[in-house]
Amino acid sequence: MRSVVVTGLGATTPLGGDVPSTWSALLAGESGAAALTAEWAQRLPVRIGAPLRKECAGALGRLEARRLDRSQQIALLAAREAWHDAGSPQVEPQRLAVVFGTGLGGVHTTIDQHTRLENHRPGMVSPFTIPMIMPNGAAAVVSLELGARGGAHAPMSACASGAEAIATGLALIRSGRADVVVAGGTDACLHPLPLAAFTKMGTLSTRNDSPETASRPFDRDRDGFVMGEGAGAVVLERGEFAASRNARAHAVLAGADVTSDAHHMTTPNSDGQIRAIRGALMSADLTAAEVSHVNAHATGTRLGDETEARSIAEAVGSHPSVAATKAQTSHLIGGAGAVEAIFTILTMRESVIPASRNLDQVDVGVPIDVVSGEPRAASVEAAISNSFGFGGHSVVLAFTQ
């Protein structure tokens, strides 16, 4: 089977405008969450969120800022960083593919243009509305940027979209369809409608008076997630291709699996999660005992964290360290899986496990080793990253050194 290596990393998140700044803020235990001070937020029941640490407009061309939805803008920035980090591989355009997922797509544009339609008339709607709201827009934008002609795919699995994009990239290379794939996920939906809607589902933390302590995965006092915005991207390469150009590999993407649980639209289910973990290990030719670290999906909802903890304990065991990085980043929706894949890779490469902030007492019903307090030095040979999404999607990525 073709080996696949990760040669480039890129991200823009509530912790930083790129991978190095995001990673150092993660290790420092900083929170990306803040009170939403805009006027539109004041009538909402939940008025906290995690905006980008570094506003993206300054890094974009004037027309990019005008003609791309915010979710596409940040996808482009993350992809550029990853591509640059990989050393801008020389690859035939037909052998270069893009896979970019999103949970909600062009939310800002959809709502803004609807407002325009209501306040003016149909003729005043932007002609770029459709390219800005279509869920494949981010994949298309990145493929245009890089001249990728080997396919531009856009998997949709809600909060697992970024991870599913990476799993799809692995499949494209393993099947011989591509030598290089830029894969990632993005979302930018800090807007009253998604905030009101997630609140109505009972999924968001209501700690309006204390945003920095609101995201507390696995903690006894968790009460939901904090919605953030962000994008992550990786460059995947066929191992021989990367070796032939002497590219530096951050890690090996050893395996992945994607399952659906057909259980309930929004209630998590251990069966699908366990099958995805076991499937990823089989795909990576790893045993559960060999996995020493898990980057958990862990959003901070009561039931979600408990279900995931059970799945980890059953499919991997109680021995791996667990990182719940949404404690710092908040929940980046479609961007989460890609950003957390990057965290998993950096954990292995740097031999340090980020400590989750806001974890006073683990309360999930099963014993798992969630790292809190200070980052923990540890050599990690094999790790998995979990991502789950509304709709019953479970995606697990397995990385090795």
Partner: protein
Amino acid sequence: MTESRDDILASVARTMAEVTDVSEADVRLDKHLIDDLELDSLSLAEFGVALQERFGIELSDEQVAELQTVSDVVDVVRAARDQGVTAG
């Protein structure tokens, strides 16, 4: 008060430079929007929306699609201004 063609041209040029990658200095009366300034159909449509906002006029999609040259743009803006048609 009727604006001069030069005043309208200057505003048209500024508008185009804001919403496309055409530079203000290139927007001259004899320039063809597609052949010279290389606007594609979406750019032209967006330029049409921006013109309506800047000048407070109402243009139909057909009027915008029929524009050929910068001179046509100035004429259609001036006519709409003179009619006192205002956009919502």
